[in-house]
């Protein structure tokens, strides 16, 4: 099989924990609260739990089709749709991962512009970031995994800063409990499932894991950990802000960080935003790596060359997004695509894969 990865390039299976968790917790953590409460209000924490549980099922499906023997989505597409059409579908995935990377990059640049450097040009910053991305991605998948590890350490460490806003929490903001209809909750969980996006890159790096059978539990732990993290963040946010205040706050997490004060440091959100660079880098790097991986598998293209092309496209594509409404529209669009990709396309693929497998098995038996 083409996707066979040489044994010495494989990594310990438990590292999938860091890969999945770090790709899920990115730029979404800074602003996801506002969209979630639109329909479910103070009950939206239930929606996060629902979304997390649903994604566990999706993850289980993904692992089911990728496993035995371990392969990536390109093999599955070829298996399900035939070689030519399958490759064409895989090609669309490049666009998907590209747009995810673009959205994260632009959202971060936007935050920087709004909060810290109002006069900063998009091109300066995107150029600098792209050079860094190039250096990291050419280091190979192992370097990216290492980076994911450090990003998880940092984002988990930063969670402790929630202690400060929690002190100002009002328990009454949390009540009344359960006064939203189930359809409201579902709507809200749709918008909250968007923040978990990123773990679908597992479809491409799955063959890099050693003994996936025993280690896939770490993927589920990662998803669970992300759910807990988002849940904690959401609960603190709900306690800190009133509903009316929250619906008019673009970046609730950053607003909460503003109140932290230590004797030698004020405006803690500055530090928070800068450290967040470390945390968003995996969420940009891994999708970009996936782009290069797809082309390498489809056309046997040299990944360095294609990476330069992708980064150049990213640079050009980032330029028109110079104001907030455009970036906002883009991220809405991306989350729509991502939502349907994860919730609709992967289960579809799952059904298709096993149906075809059964049919082929029958044919062989006859």
């Amino acid at each position: 099989m083409h996707s066979a990865v040489k044994e010495n390039f494989k990594m310990s299976g438990f590292l999938v924990f860091f890969l999945i968790h770090s790709t899920q917790t990115g730029i979404g953590m800074l602003s996801f609260q506002r969209q979630i409460i639109e329909s479910a209000g103070q009950d939206s924490w239930i929606a996060v739990i629902i979304a997390g549980l649903c994604l566990h099922i999706v993850l289980w499906m993904m692992v089911k089709i990728l496993n035995n023997p371990s392969k990536d989505i390109i093999d599955i597409h070829r298996f399900c749709f035939g070689r030519l059409f399958g490759n064409a579908v895989s090609l669309l995935l490049i666009g998907y991962f590209f747009i995810i990377a673009l959205t994260v990059l632009l959202a971060y640049i936007n935050i920087l512009r709004v909060w810290i450097f109002p006069s900063l040009k998009t091109w300066e910053l995107s150029l600098a970031l792209l050079i860094i991305l190039y250096y990291l991605i050419t280091g190979g998948f192992r370097v990216l995994t290492g980076f994911c590890f450090f990003s998880v350490l940092l984002s988990t460490g930063l969670m402790f800063s929630l202690y400060f806003p929690l002190q100002y929490g009002q328990l009454s903001y949390f009540f009344p409990l359960f006064n939203h209809s189930f359809s409201d909750l579902l709507k809200s969980s749709q918008s909250s499932s968007v923040v978990f996006l990123g773990f679908e890159s597992l479809l491409l790096y799955f063959p890099f894991l050693k003994s996936p059978q025993t280690n896939i539990k770490w993927a589920h732990f990662a998803l669970l950990f992300s759910t807990i993290k988002y849940l904690a963040l959401l609960i603190v946010t709900l306690l800190y802000f009133s509903q009316g205040h929250l619906s008019r706050t673009l970046w609730p997490t950053l607003e909460m960080m503003k109140i932290i004060e230590v004797p030698f440091l004020e405006r803690f959100e500055y530090l928070f935003i800068f450290i967040w660079l470390m945390i968003i880098i995996p969420t940009v790097c891994i999708p970009l790596w996936c782009c290069t991986r797809i082309t390498k598998r489809l056309f046997a293209l040299k990944p360095q060359l294609f990476l330069v092309v992708v980064l150049a496209f990213l640079f050009i594509a980032a330029q028109p997004f110079n104001d907030q409404t455009k970036i906002y529209a883009l991220s809405r669009f991306t989350s729509q695509i991502g939502f349907y990709f994860v919730i609709a396309y992967i289960p579809l693929l799952f059904v298709l894969y096993f149906a075809i497998k059964k049919m082929k098995g029958k044919r062989l038996a006859q």
């Binding site: 990594m11 990291l136 980076f147 004020e266 530090l271 470390m278």
Partner: protein
């Protein structure tokens, strides 16, 4: 055509320190050739010439001549290259007949006479613990190692590198502990090695390193015998090079460079505390000045109100941008350090006073810099010297310059970009094919027993797993018989 000794003789007889003499007695004639700069004259007179004159009969055969002389290191040879090599190493070549190529080589080399006999570990000082260091002679160095590790498993593999210097290089490892894969890698890289003169082991470091474009040292160098001993028993290999008091240790991880042997001589609580102080020192030393530049150029709003007053007061007369001011001071410190390193010790002390106190105070008084920055810069210089290995502390001092530049460009974001790049670089680095950031990444929780903190001897009985040692256990931990665990009965 094979080169004969006579051909080679023509080439070397041009050198004035090459001597050819003959000894004639009643029965025999002997023809001696040697470099008088390389041999011990005393040995030549007492142990060779006296015995050459004793026989009362004619000697016709080289074996007879060999039996005559009471030195063990004698070989019969006729190959020109072999003879030349031995002459270079301090042998005397004795022939029975000038026209023959054959003769005996007697090693009476005195290569150590111009070399110091002992070395205090001045550059890697520790308050407690042995102070014996390596010297420039490989035999003494190997002796020092062998004297401490009394095991037949300790192996030294010698080879010669350098087309002109013909330097002896020995790979030391413990059979059954050190991973053979690492030994093979070094062996392979040394045999692919081409260089003319090896002045110091750091040349070997630079040529066989995994990445020569990195500011980070990928092999550890040490002049301390105890550190080398510790590296050997924990499963690393060492490379000893003739002419260099510094021995290389590989594969190294970045955390090895912040370990001082003294950590092991002090109680583990104290040792761990000092080690943590060192890590803090590194972070402080890299980050302090860039953060100052970032905060004062872009993010003054992060300074609390109470602190703002003193910073404004200190900067109010300074006419420069923070980055100019910071670079001015940092470069001053680098100048002081460089001058201090080049000057004789006694002059160096004067320099410390002149540089540290006079220049610093005068710069503040002249309003060239703010005194808060002066504190930051001198503290971070101080912190950078806590790193026990000189090569690493150089790297740390270097790293802050790109970070200052980035901080001046994009403030805190620039610093973060620099950190991302450094981290990405560290993740890429490998030492002898071993990841450089292990046990941090790839994460090995068992090896944390001796990394950021040093745990007590009851817990650190395992060798680091990332070195892939063949035997994992260093020693057995037995419960103490005289120590009860029932606190009620104490």
């Amino acid at each position: 055509m094979q080169r004969t000794f006579h051909d080679s003789l023509k080439e070397i007889s041009g050198s004035d320190d090459f001597a050819q003499t003959s000894v004639h007695t009643k029965w025999n004639s002997f023809y001696l050739s040697y470099y008088n700069t390389l041999i011990s004259r005393e040995q030549l007179h007492h142990e060779i010439l006296t015995f050459l004159k004793t026989p009362e009969s004619s000697i016709n055969h080289l074996q007879e001549l060999r039996a005559l002389i009471p030195i063990e290191d004698i070989r019969v040879s006729s190959g020109a290259d072999e003879i030349m090599e031995h002459l270079m190493n301090g042998s005397v070549f004795i022939q029975l007949d000038e026209n023959y190529n054959e003769g005996i080589l007697i090693n009476i080399g005195d290569l150590n006479s111009a070399i110091r006999k002992n070395n205090d570990t001045e550059n890697e000082y520790s308050v407690v613990g042995p102070r014996v260091g390596f010297v420039e002679d490989i035999d003494t160095n190997l002796k020092l190692i062998r004297r401490i590790i009394k095991s037949d498993k300790l192996k030294f593999e010698e080879s010669t590198v350098g087309s002109l210097s013909k330097t002896r290089v020995a790979i030391g490892y413990i059979d059954g502990i050190t991973s053979p894969q690492h030994v093979n890698t070094v062996r392979q890289r040394l045999s692919d090695f081409d260089f003319d003169v090896i002045f110091d082991s750091s040349f070997i470091d630079q040529v066989i390193t995994d990445n020569s474009n990195s500011p980070f040292p990928l092999f550890m160098t040490s002049e301390r015998v105890d550190r080398i001993k510790y590296a050997l028993i924990s499963g690393q290999l060492v490379i000893v090079c003739n002419g260099s008091p510094y021995v290389l240790i590989g594969p190294a991880t970045i955390f090895d460079f912040f370990i001082s042997p003294e950590d092991y001589y002090l109680p583990w609580v104290i040792g761990s505390f000092f080690r943590l102080i060192r890590y803090f020192g590194v972070l402080f030393s890299i980050m302090a000045t860039p953060i100052y530049v970032a905060v004062t150029s872009f993010h003054y709003s992060v300074i609390p109100r109470e602190l703002m007053g003193s910073i404004i007061n200190s900067r109010v007369d300074v006419p420069f941008m923070p980055v100019v001011e910071a670079l001015f001071l940092e470069i001053t410190i680098e100048l002081l350090r460089e001058a201090g390193a080049r000057l004789p010790t006694k002059v160096g002390q004067t320099l410390g006073i002149v540089g540290g106190i006079v220049i610093g105070q005068a710069a503040v008084a002249a309003a060239l810099t703010s005194n808060i920055l002066l504190i930051f810069v001198s503290l971070s210089a101080l912190a950078s010297f806590t790193t026990p290995i000189y090569k690493m502390s150089n790297t740390i001092r270097f790293l802050r310059f790109p970070l200052i530049g980035l901080a001046a460009l994009w403030g805190g974001l620039g610093i973060m970009m620099g950190i991302v790049l450094i981290l990405g670089h560290l993740l890429r680095l490998k030492s002898l094919g071993n990841p450089y950031l292990v046990p941090m990444f790839p994460f090995r929780y068992k090896d944390y027993r001796d990394s950021f903190v040093r745990s007590s001897v009851e817990f650190s009985y395992l060798r680091p797993g990332y070195l892939r040692p063949l035997t994992q256990k260093r020693y057995n931990v037995r419960p103490r018989k005289d120590k009860g665990d029932n606190f009620n009965e104490e």
